[in-house]
Subunit: 207 residues, 2 copies
DNA sequence: TTTTGTGAAGTTTTTCACAGCG
DNA sequence: CGCTGTGAAAAACTTCACAAAA
């Protein structure tokens, strides 16, 4: 069974909602109510949820605790990934300093920087290494995922070093730079500047 | 002529590429080359670009300087928007401290915080106000766009205050919280935690 | 009766394939 | 001839509408 990419994004939202409601009096929720809260259509909710089994009860709705458990399994990770953050500037620091960032699916294992003042230090308990060592240290520590929070110019170089380690499997990139990497490596980009541009474009259209 | 949302995102990427290449020896680029560099199909590039007029030359390709100029017009803003940042925590600070963040389409006009230590201070030359004053100050300063970088719990409250100002037209949100706002207000969300989850989901699938 | 799960229909977005222009 | 621009086809995604279950 193949699941569309937009569905996954929504599953994350359903999961969050279920977590939030689990600590309330409400025990049951309908696709209609989920839809209203997330600003989508009820049929979309039902279709998305049905990809992962029959979670609801006809005539009743979705039991919130079961929904939460079920979605937790859907989003569950087969292992605790080792993750390295490359770039401990303002953004990198914002990420690792934010408790919501952490979850049981990964363990932050190493930080990398080019700033000599930061190399050798620890931030939030994690050692910061010289970016020149990316390849060696990812291999030694068996890090399979990197989070790229470096200036655009450095992005490709860092990715290349990470690929060279031989263990890289996934990249979460915050640079707006275009990076090239092997097909078999999972890639997610968070493009803040593009989001800004899209907002201004939308604003222009509604003027 | 109506332009699809995914097209706009790609237009931003074409524009960036054109800017980058304008400072190189290369004068002309084909849809094929653009496509390769951005990891998409050449037909997609041509279709996207054709929405905004005949920019290319048949048998030749796209003149990079013309392409850049043309896309600049497409992405151009009719005015310089006044923008307020709500939440001067790590993420907010990362944004306003990053020079790439700024462009001629907007002017950062006010900051808001609940942390008393920050209120009254200036950061990067911008005054930081009490979040309780959002409504009044947005109105006084005619701020039409807010950037939300507050904890999930505070998100809806801040948005409501901004809407109450009567001048709000757009929101760029970094919270993972779901916020409700009037139909006529443009909304862009950058959901970092959802991106992380999507990456882990993709990793699981390729295992 | 109510609300889910789901084929089928509809819509949006991407890709193909080729006419047309330089 | 080479590469764009673009209708038409294909694919992806969403919505409808209703049978079926509680």
């Amino acid at each position: 069974m193949k699941v569309a990419e937009p569905t996954i994004e929504r599953i994350v939202h359903y999961y969050r909602l279920a977590c939030r409601l689990e600590n309330s009096d409400q025990k049951i929720i309908s696709s209609q109510e989920i839809a209203e809260r997330l600003n989508i259509k009820a049929a979309q909710v039902r279709k998305d949820l049905s990809y992962f089994g029959e979670i609801g009860k006809r005539g009743v709705g979705y039991k919130i605790s079961e929904l939460r458990e079920h979605l937790e399994i859907v989003l569950d990770s087969p292992k605790r990934w080792k993750v390295a953050l490359i770039g401990v500037g303002n953004l990198g620091m914002a990420l690792i300093g934010h408790s919501d960032f952490y979850n049981e699916k990964f363990e932050l294992t190493a930080l990398f920087e080019i700033d000599q003042k930061k190399i050798g230090q620890k931030f939030f308990g994690i050692e910061c290494y010289d970016a020149k060592e990316i390849s060696r240290i990812l291999r030694e520590k068996e890090v399979e995922v990197i989070i790229l929070a470096v200036p655009d110019k450095a992005a490709q170089r860092c990715v290349d070093a990470a690929v060279a380690s031989g263990c890289l499997k996934g990249v979460l990139s915050f640079t707006s730079a275009q990076v090239t990497l092997p097909e078999n490596i999972a890639y997610q980009r968070v493009d803040i500047l593009a989001a800004l541009e899209k907002l201004f474009f939308a604003l222009k259209e509604t003027e």
